[in-house]
């Protein structure tokens, strides 16, 4: 259970880099970009727990993200909840949605792309519902009033948002690290590698998968809460649209699914890629995204295991 010295060193450097980053990055644009990158890493880590370690590929992680964002927004705006209390309920709600979705789909043995499409459909159901429901602001979306102050989970100085998302990501990584080393983590990987064999060994695969999706849902809703506090706005397309589901799986798959730092490395790489293409080709609409797509294919061609494959290949 102990870290090897190389790992410990790498972790120390990583922690030092991220903790000291605001000291060197004075540009609020760059700080914002790092904040967004860490946010994608958190969202990716939640996907990674279920999809990377558990092998249950979700196409609809927006269903958890949106639940986190919407529950905390609705509780604050419509029921006068304090932001922190709202956040706590929102995270619980995200876990609950995860448990429900898992119970329904895993009970029927849905696997692989079937499971993926089912998660997609659930996200769509939620999107349509919040867009039609008065309580969730229907087509207007939810606008959280500007109330700066830590008591309201809003900060005028965006450095605090950066540290907040850094802390949340660190906590998520710690959770995944702990799971990786726990008996539960071993079960989870066993389910991914060969569910029938795992079942034969006496592992309650259904229970393992439901616990995984519950944790994953709760983590994604943490990201949702962060988003809504940061941007103070969410609507049905942001919350439950397919774009956020794609964001959730992109970072871990590029970085390396089923690895602790895959989502973070993937998010950083994607952020850098998107910045570089915009910098080089941002003049004409679409060309930068075009280049982004091409580079994505190039990465996949040469690093099929994600960027973490680079490190593992050497080790």
């Amino acid at each position: 259970m102990r870290l090897r010295s190389g790992q410990a060193g790498a972790l120390f450097v990583l922690a030092a880099f991220f903790l000291l980053l605001p000291q060197f990055v004075t540009s609020s644009y760059w700080l914002g970009l790092w904040t967004l990158t860490l946010f994608y890493a958190l969202l990716g880590q939640s996907w990674n727990l279920l999809g990377g370690y558990g092998g249950q590929v979700s196409f609809g992680h927006a269903v958890f993200f949106g639940t986190g964002a919407y529950v905390s927004a609705v509780l604050q705006v419509k029921f006068g909840f304090n932001a922190w209390a709202g956040a706590a309920v929102a995270v619980a709600a995200g876990g609950l949605v995860g448990a429900f979705l898992g119970a329904v789909s895993f009970r029927y043995g849905l696997r692989g792309s079937y499971f993926a499409l089912v998660t997609l459909a659930f996200a769509e159901v939620f999107r349509v519902l919040v867009n039609s429901w008065e309580l969730t602001g229907s087509g207007f979306g939810m606008l959280i009033p500007l109330r700066p102050g830590a008591a309201h989970l809003q900060f005028t100085d965006r450095t605090w948002f950066y540290y907040l998302i850094l802390a949340l990501l660190a906590a998520a990584c710690a959770l995944v690290w702990w799971i990786e080393r726990s008996r539960f983590g071993a079960y989870l990987v066993a389910v991914r590698e060969n569910e029938d064999a795992a079942q034969a060994l006496g592992i309650d695969c259904f229970r393992v998968k439901v616990v995984a999706i519950t944790l994953s849902g709760a983590l994604a809703s943490v990201a949702g809460v962060f988003y809504v506090q940061y941007f103070l706005f969410v609507d049905s397309h942001i919350g439950y649209g397919p774009a956020m589901s794609v964001n959730a799986l992109l970072a871990p798959l590029i970085g390396g699914a089923g690895t602790l730092f895959g989502p973070l490395i993937g998010a950083v790489a994607l952020g850098a890629l998107s910045e570089l293409t915009t910098l080089a080709l941002g003049k004409t609409p679409g060309v930068n995204l075009l280049a982004f797509g091409v580079l994505l294919l190039v990465i996949l061609r040469f690093l099929p295991n994600g960027l973490m494959g680079l490190f593992r290949g050497r080790a």
């Binding site: 540009s27 609020s28 644009y29 914002g32 970009l33 967004l36 349509v128 867009n131 039609s132 229907s138 087509g139 207007f140 979306g141 606008l143 009033p145 500007l146 005028t156 965006r158 988003y227 941007f231 103070l232 706005f233 609507d235 942001i238 774009a243 941002g282 609409p285 679409g286 995204l289």
Partner: protein
């Protein structure tokens, strides 16, 4: 004068354009060219250049570009030694988080002011980010009244918001109906289910009964909607006197085609920010379906000389005449005027100059500008009607270029 549909450029018009440019340069005696290269004033445009609203973003950019080019041709900002306006585009990708990142980036790149927003969700988050950076933000087309209603300093809206537009629409509808002897009594609302369509519908559903109309139904549809046949069938079954649509361009086009194809026996189609109704492309391509559609929307005052020049310039640039172009053109003129008066690129000074603006030489039917709490008080929409190949202004009367044709003549 009616606004003519932009057609293909004739060769002569391009030559005229160049000649006009040369004449303008000569008239100014080209003092700017003789001086050392003047510095530039950067204006950040937050427009959706990719994604769902890419068409609207491209239109918005074309409007801002036209204004900036005109200002630069006439010698730039004189109080800053002829500084040219440099447009810096931040692609919001039709997503709030991208819009915020672009606002941060451009404000560090030193833009003096922002213009843009387009949709309410993007406008709300982007203007908030701009306020945090202390950069003035001029909203172009977002209609949510929260934009300026939040009291953020330096956030402005030149055009009208929800409440103003819908109230004006109701006034126009009542006046047109009364003038025709009150033939219309029942209404069905058809609206897109996002912030703008739902907002319109909610307000109209509450206000129409007070004005003596019965709202038979309110039909929300998503964007994109693949098929409008059912809505056409429902409309034909319910037989409302008036259909009031509020949708984006593509859905609007499909809806109008469906109403036409199913021969829904309406007395009038009166849209509120119709998306398609005041788009010449739609009128050219589906003229029969577009006939007599009325639309209460952002629109120019066609009688101003500047508007006539504006329409001509757009024709030369092969740009469709749409409300995004108009508002961005007008907003850019207003921003340039404010910078001229501020005589500085200092953001606080520009913000103050916008706040105290009385700018009048624009193309919208607003009169002198007067911002209260960031909202331009004189802003109002115009009601237009498609008549043959033209879009005529039929309300308010002082801007009208034609009389409303209502109810729709039965062939």
């Amino acid at each position: 004068m009616a606004v003519r549909a932009p057609r293909r450029i004739a060769r002569t018009s391009r030559r005229n354009f160049i000649a006009a440019g040369a004449a303008a340069a000569a008239a100014l005696g080209m003092p700017a060219l003789l001086r050392a290269q003047p510095k530039t004033v950067k204006i950040g445009l937050i427009h959706p250049m990719t994604g769902m609203f890419a068409y609207n973003g491209a239109q918005a950019f074309a409007g801002a570009k036209l204004a900036a080019d005109e200002i630069n041709e006439r010698g730039g900002i004189r109080s800053l030694g002829g500084a040219k306006i440099e447009l810096v585009v931040g692609d919001s990708q039709s997503k709030p988080e991208a819009a915020v990142a672009e606002v941060d980036k451009l404000s560090e790149a030193g833009v003096a002011c922002f213009l843009g927003g387009y949709a309410s969700g993007i406008g709300l988050t982007a203007s908030q980010a701009a306020a945090r950076q202390g950069v003035p933000f001029m909203s172009d087309t977002p209609v949510s009244d929260q934009i300026t209603g939040r009291g953020l300093p330096g956030v402005f809206r030149f055009g009208p918001g929800f409440a103003t537009i819908t109230t004006a629409a109701l006034d126009a509808l009542v006046a047109i109906n009364d003038a025709a002897g009150k033939p219309a009594k029942t209404v069905i609302l058809v609206h897109e289910d996002g912030a703008f369509g739902s907002g319109m519908a909610k307000f109209l559903a509450a206000e129409l009964p007070k004005r003596g109309f019965q709202v038979l139904d309110s039909i929300a549809h998503p964007t994109p909607t693949r098929d409008f046949t059912n809505i056409g069938l429902r409309l034909r079954a319910a037989r409302p006197d008036i259909v009031m649509p509020s949708s984006y361009l593509n859905e609007y086009t499909l809806l109008a085609r469906s109403i036409h194809q199913h021969r829904v026996p309406v007395k009038g189609i009166f849209s509120v920010i119709g998306g398609g109704a005041s788009n010449f492309k739609f009128i050219r391509e589906y003229n029969a379906a577009a006939q007599y559609i009325m639309d209460c929307n952002h629109w120019i005052d066609p009688n101003k000389p500047r508007s006539k020049r504006f329409v001509k310039a757009l024709e030369e640039r092969k740009v469709d005449l749409t409300y995004e172009v108009m508002l961005n053109y007008a907003c850019m003129l207003l921003i340039a005027d404010a910078i001229e008066r501020a005589g500085s690129t200092d953001r606080a000074k520009i913000s103050a100059a916008i706040a105290s603006s009385t700018f009048e030489d624009h193309i919208m039917p607003y009169g002198p500008t007067k911002f209260v709490g960031g909202q331009n008080q004189g802003a109002q929409p115009a009601t237009t009607q498609v008549q043959k190949m033209d879009i005529e202004v039929i309300w308010p009367q002082q801007f009208a270029t034609a009389k409303a044709i209502f109810p729709i003549p039965q062939a």
